[in-house]
């Protein structure tokens, strides 16, 4: 197993160095980002190229994490959230993410909303039975709603007290960006790979022998040791689940997925939904939207005409 070093500029959040193991049959590169184990499986290349690819993927992922994480002081998200109602001009990449988030808001009829993060202030999923009351909810809902955001690309004006975060799409975006960065690096060479960031994954195509990749993803069943496998020969698979984080009160299980329209926890949603789609953004959004449909999750995902797996 080899440790790779990246320059401090390429590792702005000072993560541990990526490690590369395996052999010329299959290289396994691992690193940490976005509170997930990130893995790159590669075949058809030598160790030098595998190290280079792993470096490229880590660099791009860490760049995205550092640029869009709501925990990094001074980045664009922090600037937006501390803008105090001042208009900000955002860069092209941020603008494209905001445009995408706006389309998701419209397509989900308000269920997916990047301004909904403030709801977490009243919904503390600590395993307790602390359920917020409706007065608290109505108070917080005043600060939620993409329709209250003034977005005229590339100018963004966010009301004081409102917050945006890309937590709901950042990991999927990083997966797709890592795939693009790796494809650019590989060009026409005969190398095949899978990017797996904590269960959100995408591949460059089937394995070199033509068979699909088989990836183990941690199931969100209560039995944490059980592992589901996903076969993937093209595109991406993303999973949304309740992560076994919930509140229990009077026998009702309140999941950590919150409805930004009502400020309520979604109940009766499945434990997890996985969706296969051409790219990870699409897969991730569809599985998230499905969860937000609660009891109608299966009905929603069935209507999309894509392959999916539901864990109730």
């Amino acid at each position: 197993m080899a440790n790779l070093t990246l320059s401090p500029e390429d590792n702005p959040s000072q993560h541990p160095t990526p490690t590369l193991s395996g052999n010329s049959q299959l290289w396994i590169g691992s690193f940490q980002a976005m509170a997930s184990d990130c893995e790159i499986l590669m075949e058809g290349c030598n160790e030098n190229i595998a190290s280079k690819l792993l470096r490229v993927a880590a660099k791009e992922t860490w760049r995205i994490e550092h640029k869009f994480s709501r925990y990094v002081a001074g980045n664009i998200i922090d600037q937006i959230n501390t803008s105090q109602g001042q208009t900000l001009e955002v860069d092209a990449e941020t603008a494209s993410l905001l445009n995408f988030a706006e389309q998701c808001y419209q397509l989900s009829e308000g269920l997916f909303d990047i301004s909904s993060g403030v709801l977490r202030k009243i919904w503390q999923f600590d395993g307790s039975n602390q359920i917020p009351n409706s007065t608290q909810i109505q108070e917080v809902l005043k600060k939620v709603g993409w329709d209250k955001v003034d977005w005229k690309p590339p100018l963004l004006t966010l009301k004081t007290d409102m917050q945006l975060d890309f937590g709901g799409l950042g990991k999927e975006y990083a997966v797709d960006r890592a795939v693009l960065a790796l494809c650019t690096e590989i060009k026409n060479q005969k190398t095949s790979f899978v990017v797996n960031f904590g269960g959100d994954l995408a591949c460059s195509g089937p394995r070199l022998n033509g068979t699909p990749w088989t990836i183990g993803v941690e199931s969100s069943e209560r039995d944490a040791s059980s592992v589901a496998t996903v076969s993937l020969s093209q595109g991406a698979v993303a999973t949304s689940g309740d992560s076994r984080r919930y509140l229990l009160k009077n026998g009702t299980r309140y999941s950590h997925i919150l409805n930004p329209l009502t400020g309520e926890s979604i109940v009766d949603a499945p434990h997890a939904i996985s969706v296969a789609a051409p790219n990870c953004m699409q897969a991730g959004m569809l599985s998230t939207f499905a969860m937000l449909h609660g009891v109608q999750a299966e009905e929603f995902i069935e209507a999309q005409g894509l392959q999916y797996w539901v864990q109730r």
Binding site: E60, A277, P278, M285, Q296
Partner: protein, 442 residues
């Protein structure tokens, strides 16, 4: 907004819609935007350097040039870009003086007036006293004014032994349609001064073969010209793969536009050999109009293929009030091979002659003495040029690139074949040149 009482139940019943196709389109559009790190070069706060060396060599011991170039570019936080560039040229070799080849050996006075040089019978008359070193320095500045407007400004100066050129330019760029369209407006001004050794020749004066007659042909020690260029351009992103550019430019030169080293042969009306006066062949110094207005139209299209290859084609049409018009077709294909690329290049140029272009002057025209302008410079005659080249570039780790380029240039001229003895001479020899360049950017 739906507000549901918690007592009634957990979720409202929603009408389910199929949104996967719309979401697919949205995600593709998101991922088609280059992430800001794709272009690591040009990152704020860093200097990018480029060093290159160009070697140009014409066949038959004619002009040879070596040209090292140093360029440094700095991109600032707010998007300003500063570029500084230095070019050093060394030119050696010989260049056609404009006279026709002859069945008899020919003798010419050097442009400096210090002595003569001889050309054997049948050979193209070339002046081998031609040698020069040039230093050119330039600085350019580009900066956004706001999100729709950008301005640029540049200064330029070059100096060689007998020539000085200084210039300045400025322009504006206006972005429209979410930066899918850009309008360019540019204006430049330059001033050139020539001070040849042996002074400036009088227009159409006879070449002197002794000090007294050489002095008669002189007309002051220096002369100058000014050039004003204006450009209007549109750059349009057509789709994800295609970008197109369309420019119109007009250029006005004013002042001394003649080449003081170029001459014309006077040809005997009856024999087709050189016309002789006082025991010497008659050669006249050329004369060009003192102003020139050029219009040019330029169209370029770049198309990126899904495999990363790029096709780049362009066409230029130029028209001036000297009667010259020219067409330039240029085609490049950039073929990506992993971290390297190969770029074949094909260029075709065709030009019609200037109204006052003459491969020679006849005895009758000379004796009548009413010619105002004449040049035998092949660069103002009918000509075709073809360039075939190949460039190879290799991207190394840490964002540096090595590249080399080899090009072969063939130029053929055509025109009136003359009469009598002149018919046996090759009045329009081909120009062949080999160009080799190596570069490294870091």
């Amino acid at each position: 907004m739906q507000l549901i009482s918690r007592k009634q139940g957990s979720t409202s019943i929603r009408k389910i819609k199929k949104i996967a196709p719309a979401l697919a389109a949205a995600s593709c559009s998101l991922l088609s935007v280059a992430s800001s790190d794709v272009l690591a070069r040009g990152e704020a706060g860093t200097w990018d350097f480029e060093v290159a060396s160009l070697f140009y060599s014409e066949a038959d011991d004619r002009v040879m040039a070596a040209e090292p170039v140093f360029s440094a570019t700095k991109t600032f936080e707010d998007g300003e870009v500063l570029n500084l560039k230095a070019v050093f040229d060394t030119l050696t070799g010989a260049s056609p003086n404009g006279a026709t080849p002859s069945a008899a050996p020919q003798t010419f006075t050097k442009p400096s007036g210090n002595g003569t040089y001889d050309i054997a019978a049948g050979d193209a008359p070339i002046d081998d006293t031609f040698q020069d070193t040039r230093v050119a320095l330039s600085a350019s500045w580009l900066a956004p004014i706001n999100r729709d407007w950008e301005y640029n400004a540049a200064f330029y100066g070059s100096k060689e032994y007998d020539y000085l050129s200084i210039g300045t330019s400025g322009g504006f760029k206006r972005y429209l349609n979410n930066k899918n369209t850009a309008l360019n407006f540019g204006l430049s001004f330059s001033f050139d001064n020539i001070e040849p050794e042996g002074d400036i020749a009088k227009p159409l004066a006879k070449m002197g073969f002794d000090d007294a007659s050489f002095d008669v042909s002189r007309d002051g020690s220096s002369d100058s010209k000014t050039i004003i260029d204006a450009l209007f351009g549109v750059t349009q992103v057509i789709n994800r793969n295609t970008i197109m550019q369309f420019n119109y430019s007009v250029s006005l030169s004013d002042g001394y536009l003649t080449d003081p080293f170029k001459i014309l042969s006077v040809i005997d009306d009856t024999t087709g050999g050189n016309f002789v006066e006082g025991g010497n062949n008659v050669y006249l110094y050329e004369a060009r109009p003192d102003s020139r207005m050029k219009h040019s139209l330029y169209w370029q299209t770049k198309y990126a293929l899904s495999n990363g290859d790029v096709i780049d084609g362009s066409y230029r049409f130029m028209l001036d009030d000297w009667g010259i018009n020219s067409h330039t077709f240029d085609f490049r294909y950039r073929w990506q091979l992993g971290s390297s690329y190969l770029e074949p290049h094909l260029r075709y140029y065709i030009q019609s002659e200037a109204d006052f272009y003459k491969p020679y002057i006849t005895e009758t025209e000379y004796l009548a003495g009413n010619l105002q302008e004449a040049t035998a410079d092949y660069r103002l005659g009918d000509l075709d040029g073809m360039t075939v080249g190949l460039k190879y570039g290799h991207k190394l780790d840490n964002d540096t690139e090595f590249n080399m380029r080899v090009e072969y240039y063939l130029q053929t001229s055509s025109g009136d074949d003359g009469f009598g003895l002149l018919k046996d001479q090759d009045l329009y020899p081909d120009t062949k040149a080999l160009i080799f360049q190596v570069g490294y950017s870091f």
